[in-house]
């Protein structure tokens, strides 16, 4: 059996732990640059706010319905996630952290009543860190994910599913008949791995519910759609096809892209932004112990500012030899930037992408001996990462990233940012 432990409205819940005033009020968390809603409290959902709604479209609800909007505070969410994951891991032997607020737990060999055990862990997470969760249990990842969705809906929308499935739902313990009823009550598009596009195609073929999909011939799913959908069908029938990954697979691509707080025009400012993005990406690259051999960078104006002249360009270059050195990666990204930059445009977004990643252990012979990463460069990068980890991001950075004291034209807009309640000594919540 597998369990999926998922934090309810996770970002909103994190904000509420340290701002009790937000309890029972509609709350949304906004994406970078305060662009659109990426998390909604139940009360905000009840106001009809959809995932991804731009802030300017719901801003009026501040006055009208007491809506509270927060800028995403990823330092806080990251720390709360870490605490939650540690407690969730107590449910079983192995854990796969699937996203910031979800983890799969392998329950094989766990004796006794799994629902009771899940209830204890759920209560503990709620009491210890203040985050409400739902737990779904099933024989496959797809069924565990579905059980989790049922547990959530049964709690939030009474009547959508039988009430005893609220908060914790164990599909592996349901009778065949009951499982059939639950699958029947689930729209096919809500099944993990189906998505809106395939969902529409399936409905057009008369496959409307999760039950219809479960009864589909796996061979037909493969022939008509893909191997992925075939796996989904098998998983719905209790046959595990998606592997449990207790170690996250190394990423094949690493990107760092960002919209700017204000449009910028100068090459100098873009240079700073690109340097910062390249360094962030290089840091991630080193963390997963990989090298890159291909770098892409892009800049573009805002498609939403229709009256402004539009420009968008990207380019990529291969590197002479694999590297994870911030300086080399930045150099390459800057070279691309100089090549694609045109004056006279208001740039809104830029990014750096590292491609063609390979393990740092793999060595490639190169004719250009200077380009190899000598041992002291490796140690320099390690030292830089350690200093930044210990004293905060940006303590040590390349000079071309600009100085933090100077106003950074490209800095992110975060007007509604809560403080680092668990990460900043000067930003603790106040008690009276």
């Amino acid at each position: 059996m597998l369990a999926l432990v998922d934090g309810n409205n996770f970002y909103c819940s994190c904000e509420r732990v340290f701002q009790p005033r937000l309890k029972n009020r509609p709350v949304v968390v906004l994406s970078n640059n305060d662009g659109c809603a990426i998390a909604r409290s139940d009360e905000a959902k009840a106001l009809g706010i959809k995932m991804g709604t731009p802030w300017f479209k719901i801003r009026h609800l501040e006055e009208e319905a007491g809506l509270v909007a927060m800028s995403a505070n990823f330092a806080l969410y990251g720390d709360m996630s870490d605490r939650m994951m540690t407690l969730a891991a107590g449910l079983g032997h192995m854990q796969e952290v699937y996203s910031i607020d979800e983890s799969f737990i392998d329950l094989s060999g766990i004796p006794g009543d799994l629902v009771r055990r899940a209830r204890i862990i759920r209560r503990r997470i709620h009491q210890w860190i203040g985050i409400p969760t739902c737990i779904g249990i099933g024989p496959t990842k797809t069924l565990a994910k579905l059980a989790n969705a049922i547990a959530k809906s049964a709690e939030r929308k009474p009547g959508s599913y039988p009430a005893h499935h609220a908060q914790i739902c164990h599909l592996g313990a349901c009778s065949r008949e009951e499982l059939g009823q639950l699958l029947q009550a689930t729209e096919v598009g809500d099944v993990w791995g189906v998505g809106p596009r395939i969902g529409a195609q399936l409905r057009a073929q008369g496959v409307h519910t999760a039950l219809d999909l479960q009864r589909m011939n796996p061979a037909a799913a493969k022939a008509g759609w893909s191997v992925m959908l075939e796996k989904t069908v098998r998983e719905l029938n209790g046959v595990p096809c998606i592997e449990f990954e207790d170690e996250p697979p190394a990423k094949q691509q690493i990107a760092c892209t960002r919209s700017f707080g204000h449009p910028i025009t100068e090459l100098q400012d873009l240079q700073e932004a690109i340097t910062e993005f390249a360094c962030r990406a290089a840091e991630k690259l080193r963390r997963q112990n990989s090298h890159t051999v291909h770098i892409m960078a892009f800049i573009r104006t805002s498609p939403f500012r229709e009256k402004d002249p539009q420009y968008s360009h990207s380019a990529s270059i291969p590197l002479p030899s694999p590297t994870s050195d911030s300086a080399h990666i930045t150099q390459a990204a800057s070279a691309i930037l100089k090549h694609i930059y045109r004056p006279g445009f208001k740039y809104a977004k830029a990014g750096v992408m590292l491609m063609d990643l390979q393990p740092a252990t793999r060595r490639q012979l190169t004719l250009d001996l200077d380009a190899e990463m000598p041992e002291n460069r490796v140690r320099l990068m390690q030292a830089m990462d350690e200093v930044n980890q210990r004293f905060g991001r940006g303590t040590l950075h390349l000079a071309s990233a600009g100085t933090t004291g100077r106003h950074r034209a490209w800095a992110m807009k975060q007007e509604r940012l809560s403080s680092g309640f668990t990460t900043d000594w000067t930003g603790l919540a106040v008690t009276f």
């Binding site: 340290f18 009790p20 005033r21 309890k23 605490r83 540690t86 407690l87 503990r124 009491q127 210890w128 860190i129 203040g130 309640f421 668990t422 000594w425 603790l428 919540a429 106040v430 008690t431 009276f432």
Partner: protein, 157 residues
């Protein structure tokens, strides 16, 4: 490989349980990592007594996942040694009991007070005669957020 071999031989002298010579396996082999570096010559007399330095976090925090820090504003807990500007360590895993200093949520704000409960009363008591106790009014709910396990006052800024 040679380096490992040398260290191994040196350790034979100072580790009694290894004083009988052990044959080394041919080819690469694993040795346990030693916590102290070993130098040729006399071993340091402190070596046998080496322990971990006191870790304040470890001493003060029993449930790391459940422990949060809050900054105190005001003097309502002065006589309990919790001063304006103190940082309190709050453990949410501990079940609050009468007599605990707790963080409670009253009308959307955090407040630090001593919890006093009996079967038919609930009271948040301040540690300063200038501050009145808090008793929930009809229909008001007061949530106990966590239990204060330590407070930190920094001196001489």
């Amino acid at each position: 490989m040679l380096l490992v071999y040398c260290y191994f031989i040196q350790y034979l002298d100072i580790m009694p349980q290894l004083s009988t010579p052990q044959p080394l396996p041919p080819g690469p082999f694993l040795v346990n990592a030693f916590t102290a570096s070993v130098q040729a010559g006399f071993p340091s007399p402190a070596e046998d007594h080496q322990v971990e330095r006191i870790d304040l976090m470890h001493q003060l925090i029993k449930h790391p996942q459940a422990t949060f820090m809050l900054r105190v504003s005001g003097q309502s807990m002065r006589d309990a040694g919790i001063l304006d500007g103190s940082v309190v360590l709050v453990d949410k895993a501990i079940k609050p009991e009468s007599g605990h200093i707790v963080i409670a949520v009253v009308d959307g704000d955090f407040t630090c007070k001593t919890l006093q409960t009996s079967p038919n009363s609930f009271r948040l008591v301040s540690a300063n005669p200038d501050f009145a106790d808090i008793v929930p009014t009809e229909g008001q709910t007061i949530e106990v957020w966590g239990v204060v396990v330590a407070s930190i006052v920094q001196h001489g800024k």
